[in-house]
Amino acid sequence: MTYIVLILCVFLVGMALAAVLVKDLRSAIILLSALSLFASLAFLIVAAPDVAITEAAIGSALTTVIFVIALFRTRKSTEGNTSATVRRVDESARAVRQKETDNA
């Protein structure tokens, strides 16, 4: 039991460090979500299933959604920040769609 808790806590601290230090903001948010999930496991080990279920629902689902929305809303501009590939695919899809409507 002690070893399981030890491994779990190493995971917890490692994920927290990674969430703070990682360069990409999106990865940091996903790491925070994973940290919440592991923390709910830790809550389960200290015999707190109520807290664990609440943490799993709020910490790893809702908080992630809010963070991702905030990340989307605070990008410099939607055109400038999407990567070139995505934009190219998007444009080609739009061209195909345009052709379809022309044909119809």
Binding site: L12, V13, A16, V46, T54, I66, A70, T74
Partner: protein
């Protein structure tokens, strides 16, 4: 090392990592991530205080459990704390989005009055 001692250490480390992120980051979303990590550490700490050795969850069943039960009071407090923590996070992130609309940046070094 016993189970509570390991959890105390990791809860302290989580609080310290979160506060470090809150103090040193320039990106505001990262600061709020740090706030969340510190929040998690405090919650873990409080729940661990109520733990007793070989304790079972404080739920009565038809056949009585063998060992003692853990303390229900910190768990109820932490339940409250998690929900309020989400409210704080949502409000803080909305403020960040509002700041982005008015200043065009979420970097504290680029916003006058927030730089240090």
């Amino acid at each position: 090392m016993t189970v509570p001692q390991i959890l105390y250490v990791s809860a302290f480390l989580l609080i310290l990592i979160g506060l470090y992120s809150l103090l040193t980051q320039r990106n505001m979303i990262r600061m709020i991530i740090g706030l969340n990590i510190a929040d998690l550490g405090v919650n873990l700490f409080l729940v661990t205080i109520g733990f007793v050795d070989k304790g079972s969850a404080p739920i009565f069943r038809a056949q009585a459990a063998a060992g003692p039960m853990v303390d229900p009071v910190p768990q109820a407090l932490v339940l409250t704390s998690i929900v309020i923590g989400f409210g704080v996070t949502a409000l803080a992130l909305t403020l960040v989005m509002r700041l982005f609309v008015s200043h065009g940046s979420i970097d504290t070094a680029r916003i006058r009055g927030l730089k240090w």
